[in-house]
């Protein structure tokens, strides 16, 4: 890991305004962000952007978040993958254990979210 490089976070959510706000917030904490509105866009971006973490919504227009998470995991040096979803986490415990690094429920407290992203570093 390159210590001087800012942490890179890929935000995947078709609620683009939500993504944009979150990106702006993370940028204030010196994180580098990119936004993707679909699973397809996310898979295109992931090679060039090489994120450390991905925050993804479960309900996406072209594929669901589980599918996207699996495909991201299959890559070399997979990023940490967090679900950021309105779905309650207790319904998805098995999915968290197997696919996601963590499950963050919307609405998440912005600082707590930041803490989660930094925690693993």
């Amino acid at each position: 890991m390159n210590e001087v490089r800012a942490m890179r976070v890929l935000l995947v959510d078709d609620n683009e305004m939500g993504s944009e706000l979150l990106a702006e917030f993370l940028a204030l904490s010196n994180l580098e962000t990119r936004c993707a509105a679909t699973g397809g866009e996310a898979l295109e971006l992931v090679d060039t952007f090489a994120p450390d973490a991905v925050l993804l919504d479960i309900l996406l227009p072209d594929m669901d978040g589980y599918e996207l998470a699996k495909r991201l995991r299959e890559r070399p040096n997979p990023p940490r993958i967090y679900a950021l979803s309105g779905l309650a986490r207790h319904e998805r415990q098995d999915a968290i254990n197997n696919i996601f690094t963590g499950w963050i429920e919307k609405p998440a407290d912005p600082d707590a979210l930041l803490a989660i992203l930094h925690e693993a570093n």
Binding site: N15, G18, L28, L59, G86, A88, K106, P107, A108
Partner: protein, 729 residues
């Protein structure tokens, strides 16, 4: 010493239904009667028997055969003690008169032998001709034709002055439905008689003994004598051909000036279905063989009626079943049960004949046919509900539901069922009292004689009595009608039960989804608020907070609308004059500001006005434009067009795009769409927009429809202008 078999107190109109007419202890003086027990002992004999047989008879003794006419002696020995109770008739000649000898076994095991003196038979057809007439009658294919043909043939065969066909209604009251008569006699078709005109015991007798002749109503009865044994049981003469009849009946005949009568019963399934009654104004004897032929005709007619009725019932059942499944299908395929039942080509009103029918569901009521009952429906339903019956029915509301009598004016009969307890769904069929439509028909009544029992014993008296009996009473609800209503109730209640379960499941899913989708805008609000507190771009952030709050506001109000509609409360439309052109132009301007690249092409005449709830109409137009923006092909314009013709305004919102798939189209206006749960979300709301839009339009008395053609998706809203002055535009 001989004694009359019995003696009775006089019977009057008040107690005639207890007169034991099957044991009159007397015969008509047309011949003689003998009754033997199984060992040949003579137990009963009519007073005139010894004279007619020209011999000496001793009761409680066997008859020495040599004292009887040879033919009679011969068959007597084969009849008495024979286990087969059906005896071949024969004729004998006594004192230059011909007698038909008719034997039968009565309920006490006595062999009854009757000798009936044969009249001259002038004007009476030969039996073989009557049997041929049966062929003519049985060719008829419907009941009125059958009865018409029968009275014609019976009149031809017997020469009676008047031959009538009665039909007995489900309440056993009688109606003359066909008649053949001498030209100078009144027309009696349509006359009604109360059930009591044939007392119960007489009805039973007519059912088992299907032919009765009174050759001369002024006869002097001949007593039937029995031996003075310790316990003389009266002789059961139910099947006797000479049985003397009730003096009350004879007085009725005398009052009408009728001297002779013959009746043939039409019995179906053990019930007296109808009767052929023959009247003559002078004495008339119909020989036994001719009577047998008429009786055969009656049996053929009964069997034919039974077949026709079975076919009619089957046809009726088929029609009812088709209507029930048509209605069930309509109800299954829509959310609004009331509209499904009341707005189709066919409605529950056609299931059962009625003067008015009501369909209630939620807060909606439709009255089919007649006028609504006078009282408050809520109170009526409450009372009906308390009866606890699946199917509430009465032909006499005043008697059975006196508390509802004034509420249900002008109706007398009611058939009701509750098919949807959750939404207060009821179907009610109503009938007026039957005399409202019936008057004493025919020419002014001829003056009939009135006997000692008074004017009740005349046709006019019977009609008045019938009127009295049916006052406040509707026609009967037939078993087939009750069955049809119950069938519909059963289908509809199944649907509403399973719908209730569906709604429950969908509501749970909806609330779960709502809980989920609300988190998204909340996330944005929370994030924007955080940013706002740390940056100086406050204005932009404020805009975003407002946008997200607005979205939450819309989601919440949609859910509130939904719960109002599902709870049957309605949207609370308040109509006021509304300038539709200004409204739509304003909404288009708002959309353009919110989406600067969006092309909207309006085609609106200025000054379109209507009576409407402006906020609700704005909701509909906004929803249609949002759908067009989200689902329309990119960079293609949205067309918004309005026009007025007569009293209708047509507003359409069109976008370019692929046709809507059929499975989506099927649920487009439903609140709960299978595809909206657990799949790609709808960013703009909960998919309730079109459902609510449709309700708004319907509540304005209008209609909303969608059409896909030529690469266009066109939503069209039709609204009645409802302006007092349509020239205003």
């Amino acid at each position: 010493m001989n004694a009359p078999t019995t003696s009775y107190p006089p019977f009057t109109l008040a107690n005639c239904d207890s007169e034991p007419i099957h044991i009159p202890g007397a015969i008509q003086p047309l011949g003689a009667l003998l009754a033997f027990d199984s060992d040949g002992t003579l137990r009963y004999a009519s007073e005139n028997a010894a004279r007619i047989l020209d011999t000496c008879l001793t009761l409680d003794q066997p008859c020495p055969h040599e004292t009887l006419p040879p033919g009679l002696a011969h068959c007597l020995s084969s009849w008495v003690g024979n286990p087969d109770p059906i005896f071949d008739p024969l004729t004998i000649t006594q004192d230059r008169a011909t007698y038909d000898v008719i034997g039968h076994r009565n309920s006490d095991g006595l062999t009854i032998v009757e000798l009936e003196r044969r009249g001259d038979g002038v004007g009476i057809a030969a039996p073989e001709r009557i049997y041929r007439s049966i062929e003519r009658v049985r060719r008829q294919r419907d009941i009125p034709g059958l009865l018409d043909s029968m009275v014609r043939e019976v009149q031809r065969a017997t020469g009676f002055d008047r031959v009538m066909a009665y039909r007995f209604h489900p309440d056993d009251s009688g109606e003359i439905v066909a008649e053949q008569r001498r030209d100078d006699l009144d027309d009696w078709v349509g006359r009604r008689y109360p059930a009591g005109d044939i007392p119960a015991q007489a009805r039973r007798l007519y059912t088992v003994n299907t032919l009765r002749l009174i050759a001369d109503a002024t006869y002097q009865p001949v007593r039937v004598l029995s031996a003075p044994s310790p316990d003389p049981r009266p002789l059961d003469m139910s099947f006797s051909v000479l049985r003397s009849v009730s003096p009350i009946h004879l007085e009725y005949m005398a009052n009408m000036g009728v001297r002779a009568s013959m009746s043939l019963s039409l019995v179906i399934g053990g019930r007296l279905w109808g009767m052929i009654a023959c009247h003559h104004h002078s004495p008339r004897a119909v020989p036994y063989p001719a009577r047998l032929a008429c009786e055969a005709m009656a049996q053929v007619v009964s069997a034919t009626v039974s077949g026709i009725e079975a076919n009619e019932r089957a046809e009726q059942t088929r029609k009812s079943a088709a209507l029930v499944s048509y209605l069930a299908e309509r109800v299954s395929s829509t959310e609004n049960v009331h509209q499904a039942l009341s707005r189709g080509d066919q409605t529950p009103a056609s299931l059962v004949p009625n003067d008015a029918a009501l369909c209630l569901w939620g807060n909606s009521v439709t009255v089919f046919g007649g006028i609504a009952p006078r009282g408050e429906l809520a109170g009526i339903l409450c009372a009906l509900d308390q009866s606890g019956q699946r199917l509430v029915h009465t032909t006499n509301i005043a008697r059975d539901y006196p508390e509802l009598q004034t509420d249900l004016v002008p109706y007398a009969g009611l058939l009701a069922c509750k098919f949807d307890p959750m939404n207060n769904g009821w179907l009610i069929w109503l009938r007026k009292e039957q005399i409202e439509t019936l008057v004493w028909g025919g020419r002014p009544e001829k003056q009939y004689a009135v006997g000692s029992l008074g004017p009740r014993l005349t046709p006019r008296g019977s009609f008045e009595a019938w009127r009295e009996v049916v006052r406040g009473v509707s026609t009967s609800w037939l078993p087939s009608e009750l069955e049809a209503a119950d069938g519909l109730r059963d289908e509809l209640s199944h649907i509403s039960t399973s719908r209730a379960a569906d709604v429950d499941r969908a509501r749970t899913a909806l609330l779960a989804m709502l809980g989920h989708d609300l988190r998204d805008p909340l996330q944005s609000i929370s994030m924007a608020a955080t940013l706002l507190s740390r940056t100086d771009t406050g204005a932009r952030m404020g805009e975003r907070i407002r946008y997200s709050s607005g979205r939450m506001q819309r989601l919440i109000s949609q859910v509130l609308d939904l719960s109002r509609l599902q709870g049957g409360l309605g949207l609370g439309i308040e109509k006021r004059p509304c300038d539709l052109s200004a409204l739509v132009n304003g909404l288009i301007e708002e959309k353009r500001q919110a989406y600067p690249g969006l092309r909207i092409e309006p085609d609106l005449p200025a000054g379109l006005t209507l009576m409407a709830d402006t906020d609700r109409i704005a909701q509909v137009v906004t929803n249609l434009m949002s759908n067009a923006r989200q689902h329309g092909a990119p960079r293609q314009p949205i067309l918004v067009k309005a026009e007025v013709s007569d009293d209708l305004i047509t507003l359409s919102v069109t976008n370019y795009g692929e046709p809507i798939p059929d499975d989506v189209l099927a649920h487009l206006f439903s609140p709960f769409k299978p595809e909206s749960v657990g799949q790609s979300r709808n960013r703009s709301g909960l998919g309730l927009g079109l459902y609510i839009a449709e309700q708004v339009v319907r509540d304005h008395g209008g209609d909303i429809a969608v059409e896909c053609r030529d690469g266009l998706i066109i939503f069209t809203v039709t609204l009645p202008r409802g302006m007092p002055d349509t020239k205003h535009a």
